[in-house]
C-alpha cells in the first residue's frame, strides 16, 4: 500500500487573539495498519509540533481521542486510514468547549454531568464490615451493570446529539445511561422519586428527540437508546401515578426492564 494521504485538520488557538479558525492540510505517506493515532503523531513529529490533539491509551478504552472524522464522531485510535478515502478531514467534537485544534474539554463536561446526576452508589458507605462475607449478587445482574459501566465517556454520543447541540444543559445519552446503571444496581438505594428529580425533565430523558445518532456512533456499542427508553418509561409512569390505575402502572413498569425482574 502506498497511498499519499491528504489530512485536513481544523486549527484554532482560542488563547491567541490573532488565531482564526481555519483548515490546514498535511500530506503524509500511508503505511500498513496505520491508524489516525499514528498519522496524527507523524504530523506533530514531522510537520507541526504545535498541533493539539488528545490520545492516552490509544487502545479504545480510555475515550480520549473522540473527534469528528470525515463528518462523523468516532475514536481516532481505532480508525484505520485504509478504511477512509485519501482525503481525511478532522474536526474537534462539537458541544464541548474547545481547548485548541482537535482537543476539547470533555473532562469538565462529564464531571458536571456526574455531579448533577449524583453518579455514585447511594448507600451507607460506612456500614460495611469488610471482615464479613461480601453481599451476594446474581452474576447475570453483575454482567448487566458492567455492560453499562463500559462507557468510556468519549463524548461521541453527545457530539452527535441534536438536543445537545441546541440546549447546553442537556445531560445526553452517556449521562442517562449512567443513571440507568445506578437504577439497575440494587446497592443504590435511591427510589424512583429521587431519579425523577435528577432526570425527569427536558434536561434529562424528556429532552431527547429520538434521532438515535447517539447509539449509531457509540464506539463501545452500548445500547444507549434502550436505556433512555427504560428510564423514560419508568419516569413517565411515575409522573402519572395517581392518575392511571395502580394495577396498570405495576403491569407496565415490569415490562422489559431487567431491574424489576431481578428485584422480584
Amino acid at each position: 500500500m502506498s497511498r499519499r494521504l491528504h489530512i485536513e485538520v481544523f486549527r484554532y488557538n482560542p488563547l491567541d487573539p490573532n488565531s482564526e479558525p481555519q483548515m490546514q492540510s498535511f500530506y503524509i505517506d500511508e503505511y500498513d495498519s496505520m491508524t489516525l493515532f499514528i498519522a496524527l503523531n507523524i504530523i506533530r513529529d514531522q510537520h507541526d509540533a504545535t498541533l493539539q490533539f488528545d490520545f492516552c491509551c490509544r487502545a479504545g478504552i480510555c475515550g480520549s481521542c473522540g473527534m469528528v472524522i470525515n463528518g462523523r464522531p468516532g475514536l481516532a485510535c481505532h480508525t484505520q486510514t485504509k478504511d477512509l478515502p485519501t482525503h481525511i478531514v478532522l474536526h474537534p467534537l462539537p458541544v464541548f468547549k474547545l481547548i485548541g485544534d482537535l482537543s476539547v474539554d470533555t473532562g469538565v463536561w462529564f464531571r458536571d454531568a456526574g455531579t448533577r446526576i449524583e453518579a455514585w452508589v447511594h448507600n451507607d458507605h460506612e456500614a460495611l464490615d469488610p471482615t464479613q462475607e461480601e453481599a451476594r449478587m446474581e452474576n447475570s445482574l453483575a454482567n448487566e451493570i458492567f455492560e453499562l459501566d463500559r462507557c468510556v465517556e468519549c463524548g461521541c454520543c453527545i457530539a452527535a446529539c441534536g438536543t445537545a447541540r441546541m440546549r447546553p444543559d442537556f445531560l445526553g445519552a452517556a449521562a442517562i445511561a449512567r443513571v440507568a446503571r445506578f437504577y439497575l444496581d440494587p446497592r443504590d438505594e435511591r427510589n424512583v422519586e429521587n431519579y425523577y428529580e435528577v432526570i425527569g425533565n427536558d434536561q434529562g430523558v424528556f429532552g431527547c428527540m429520538g434521532l438515535l445518532a447517539c447509539e449509531d456512533v457509540c464506539p463501545k456499542h452500548i445500547p444507549l437508546q434502550d436505556q433512555l427508553g427504560i428510564m423514560r418509561r419508568m419516569l413517565a409512569l411515575h409522573s402519572v401515578k395517581g392518575i392511571v390505575p395502580k394495577s396498570l402502572i405495576n403491569k407496565l413498569s415490569h415490562k422489559g426492564c431487567c431491574h424489576e425482574n431481578h428485584q422480584s
Partner: protein, 629 residues
C-alpha cells in the same frame, strides 16, 4: 500565579491516587487530585485482567488464603520483594475487594452448579458450590497456586476506576484535570506541594499541601515499544528524583510482555498461547520448540520474551516500517473459539491492526509492560528523603513486586496500597502541620519558569522529538530483555551524551498559551534521567533476577545481590548515584527456587534473626471469614 492550598495533593488520579484521596476525604481532609487527563482516562482504565485477592470463593480457588497469595507473590518477585509489604498486601487484598464491591464494582459472581473452564487450551468440568453462589468469582492467572483473580469481564480497570471516581464525587475530592506537576516544592526536609502546569493555558500554578502523594503510574514511555498509555512518561518519578533527596528503587526491574501488537503496542492476552496459539518467524516457521522443547510457547513470560528477541536478533524477524516483529498464529483455533473465548483479541486485531485473526497472522513482539521500580517508600508508603511525601501504585517501589510481578497483583496493588497508604496519610495529616515557606515555592517556581523561558527563547538547537526517539531506541537496543555488560555500558555512555544534549533543547513552533511541544521539551531531560537510572542500575547489578537477565551473569546471586538498588540524582551530576539496601527486613519465606524459570542460584546465608514469622495480625487484616470454618 494562582496558589491553591490543600491538605492532601495527589499527583495522579488513577486507581491508587483516587483511592488515597478518598481515604483522606472520608476522614474530613481536603484532598485534591491532579491529572494530565480526565481521571477516568487514566491508564488504570486500560487494565483488563483482574485483581488478585485470596477470597477462595470459586471451586478452583478452594482453600486459598492470604498465606498462599503471599507465597506466590514472594516467589514471583524472585525474592526481591519486601516481605513485610507483601504480607500487608496479601492480608489486605480480600478486604479491599469487598469494600469496592460495596461501593459499586460489578465483580463477576460465582454461579452454583456445573461449569466448563479451560486450562492449557483444554476444557474441563467443575462444580461451583451452592454455599458460594453470588460471592465474588475469580479466574486463573500465571504464577498463582489458586484461581484468585477477581474480575469484571475484560474491563476490570475500567469498572473499578469508574467506582473509585464516583467515590471522589461522593466525598468532594477536588479534581483538577489537564494539569501536570513539574516540580515538588520542598525545603530540603519537608515536601509541601508542587508547581503545576495547566495543560489548557500553559500557565504555572502552585499547590501548597501538607501531604503530597505521587501516584503517576509507570514510566514505560522511555522505551519505544511499550503497552503503556502515552501519559506514562514518569512525570512523578522525575519530580521526585529532581529533588536530589528522594531515591528511586530498583529502576532496572522492567517487565516485558511477549505479545504486544505491532504497530501500536496494544497487548493481546497470554490466553492466545494458553489456548494453543503459536509463534512463527519470517518464514512462518514455529521456532519456540527449538529453544524450549518442553514448554515451547507456554514457557514463562520472561522466558518467551527472551527467546523471541534472540530469534529476531538472528535475522528471523519480519521487517516492517515499525521495526522487526514475529507472528502470533491462532488461525487453527477456528472462528468459534476466536470470536467467543478470545473475543477481545479478535476486536483488537480487527479494529486496530486491520488483521482478521481467523484467517491472518497477528504481528507481535515483546513489549515493555510494567515498571517494578519507582519512588522508594517504606511500608507506610512514605517516600525516603522528604517528610510529607508519599507514593502508591506503579509509581512507587513499595516493593511487593521485587524483580518480577505477577499478573493481577499490580491492579490489586493500586487499591490495596491506596487504602493502606491512605490510612497512613490520614495519620500523618492528623499529627502534622507544615510551614508553607514562600522561599521554597519561589525556588521551585523559578526552576520551572526558567526552563520554560529558556525553551521559548529558542536559543537551544536540539529537538525534543529527536532526543526522545534516540532515547527510546537506546533503551530498546541495549537495555532490553537480554542485557550484558558491554551493551549496558554503551547505553550508559550514549544516554549520558543525550542527557547533556537535553540541556539545550529548542522549540520548532511558538504557539501562544498551551503548547504540546513545550510539554515534551520539559519532560525529555527527566525521562533521559530515568533511562539512565534504569541502564546504570542494570549495568551494576551483575546477576539475573526476575525480569533482569544478564547474559554475562546468568545466575541469581543472593550472596551479593539480595538487595534493592536506590538511585539518587545529585544536582549537576550526569549520572545517578547508586546505593543499596536489604531486599527485605526479614524473611518469612527464605530464598529458594521459584518452581519455574530455572537458572542457577547462589544462596546466601540468612542470619537466624532475619528468618521469622511476623507478629499476629490485627483484626483489620485478618484472614477472610470463610477460612474460619
Amino acid at each position: 500565579m494562582q496558589i491553591f492550598y490543600t491538605d492532601l495533593l495527589c499527583i495522579g488520579a488513577g486507581l491508587a491516587g483516587e483511592r488515597v484521596a478518598v481515604e483522606a476525604a472520608k476522614a474530613g481532609f481536603n484532598a485534591t487530585c491532579l491529572s494530565i487527563v480526565p481521571p477516568r482516562r487514566s491508564h488504570s482504565s486500560a487494565a483488563q485482567g483482574g485483581m488478585q485477592a485470596a477470597l477462595g470463593n470459586c471451586v478452583m480457588g478452594e482453600g486459598d488464603s492470604p498465606d498462599i497469595h503471599f507465597a506466590d507473590t514472594v516467589k514471583g518477585s524472585d525474592w526481591g520483594c519486601d516481605q513485610e509489604v507483601a504480607r500487608i498486601f496479601a492480608d489486605t487484598a480480600p478486604i479491599v475487594m469487598r469494600e469496592v464491591a460495596h461501593w459499586g464494582v460489578p465483580w463477576n459472581r460465582v454461579e452454583q452448579g456445573p461449569a466448563t473452564y479451560y486450562k492449557g487450551g483444554k476444557p474441563f468440568d467443575a462444580v461451583e458450590s451452592k454455599e458460594k453462589h453470588g460471592l465474588i468469582h475469580a479466574r486463573a492467572f500465571g504464577g498463582t497456586a489458586k484461581w484468585r483473580t477477581c474480575y469484571t469481564a475484560d474491563g476490570t480497570g475500567r469498572s473499578v476506576l469508574n467506582t473509585l471516581d464516583s467515590m471522589c464525587l461522593r466525598y468532594d475530592v477536588n479534581i483538577h484535570d489537564r494539569t501536570q506537576a513539574e516540580a515538588l516544592i520542598h525545603d530540603g526536609e519537608n515536601c509541601i506541594g508542587a508547581i503545576v502546569r495547566c495543560l489548557r493555558t500553559g500557565e504555572l500554578m502552585a499547590y501548597y499541601a501538607t501531604a503530597t502523594l505521587i501516584a503517576t503510574g509507570g514510566y514505560g514511555r522511555i522505551y519505544k515499544a511499550t503497552t503503556n498509555a502515552v501519559i506514562c512518561d514518569g512525570g512523578g518519578q522525575i519530580a521526585a528524583l529532581d529533588t536530589g533527596l528522594v531515591p528511586l528503587g530498583n529502576m532496572e526491574a522492567i517487565q516485558f510482555h511477549p505479545t504486544g501488537t505491532v504497530p501500536t503496542d496494544i497487548l493481546v492476552t497470554e490466553g492466545c498461547r494458553g489456548d494453543g496459539g503459536t509463534l512463527l518467524d519470517v518464514n512462518e516457521y514455529r521456532f519456540m520448540p527449538d529453544y524450549e522443547p518442553e514448554k515451547a510457547e507456554l514457557a514463562s513470560r520472561d522466558v518467551v520474551s527472551r527467546r523471541m528477541q534472540e530469534h529476531m536478533a538472528k535475522g528471523f524477524g519480519v521487517k516492517s516500517p515499525y521495526g522487526d516483529h514475529l507472528w502470533l498464529d491462532i488461525r487453527h483455533l477456528g472462528e468459534k473459539h476466536i470470536t467467543t473465548k478470545l473475543r477481545e483479541v479478535y476486536d483488537i486485531c480487527t479494529s486496530f491492526l486491520g488483521v482478521n485473526p481467523i484467517t491472518g497472522l497477528i504481528p507481535v513482539r515483546p513489549t515493555q509492560h510494567y515498571s517494578m521500580g519507582g519512588l522508594r517508600t517504606n511500608k507506610d508508603g512514605a517516600a525516603y528523603g522528604l517528610k510529607g511525601l508519599f507514593s502508591a501504585g506503579e509509581a512507587a517501589c513499595w516493593d511487593m513486586h521485587g524483580f518480577n510481578r505477577l499478573g493481577g497483583n499490580s491492579l490489586a496493588e493500586t487499591v490495596v496500597a491506596g487504602r493502606y497508604v491512605g490510612q497512613k496519610v490520614v495519620e500523618f495529616l492528623q499529627g502534622n502541620s507544615v510551614d508553607f515557606k514562600q522561599s521554597a515555592l519561589r525556588d521551585a517556581h523559578m526552576k520551572i519558569d526558567g526552563r520554560i523561558k529558556f525553551l521559548a527563547g529558542n536559543s537551544g538547537k536540539e529537538s525534543a522529538i529527536v532526543l526522545r526517539d534516540e532515547m527510546q531506541d537506546i533503551m530498546m537496543d541495549y537495555v532490553g530483555i537480554f542485557r550484558n555488560g558491554k551493551d549496558l555500558q554503551t547505553a550508559v555512555d550514549k544516554l549520558e551524551e543525550l542527557h547533556a544534549r537535553s540541556m539545550s533543547i529548542g522549540l520548532q513552533g511558538n504557539a501562544i498559551g498551551f503548547n504540546p511541544e513545550i510539554s515534551l521539551a520539559l519532560r525529555i531531560p527527566g525521562m533521559i534521567k530515568l533511562a539512565q537510572c534504569t541502564a546504570f542500575g542494570a549495568l551494576k547489578r551483575t546477576e539475573s533476577r526476575g525480569a533482569h537477565t544478564r547474559e554475562d551473569h546468568p545466575e541469581r546471586n543472593d550472596k551479593e545481590w539480595l538487595n534493592r538498588t536506590l538511585a539518587y540524582w545529585k544536582e549537576g551530576d550526569s549520572l545517578p548515584t547508586l546505593k543499596y539496601e536489604d531486599a527485605s527486613p526479614y524473611f518469612e519465606i527464605p530464598p529458594g527456587e521459584r518452581g519455574y524459570g530455572g537458572g542457577k542460584i547462589l544462596y546466601a546465608d540468612i542470619p537466624a534473626d532475619k528468618l521469622r514469622v511476623p507478629e499476629k495480625k490485627s483484626s483489620e487484616t485478618a484472614a477472610p471469614a470463610e477460612d474460619k470454618e
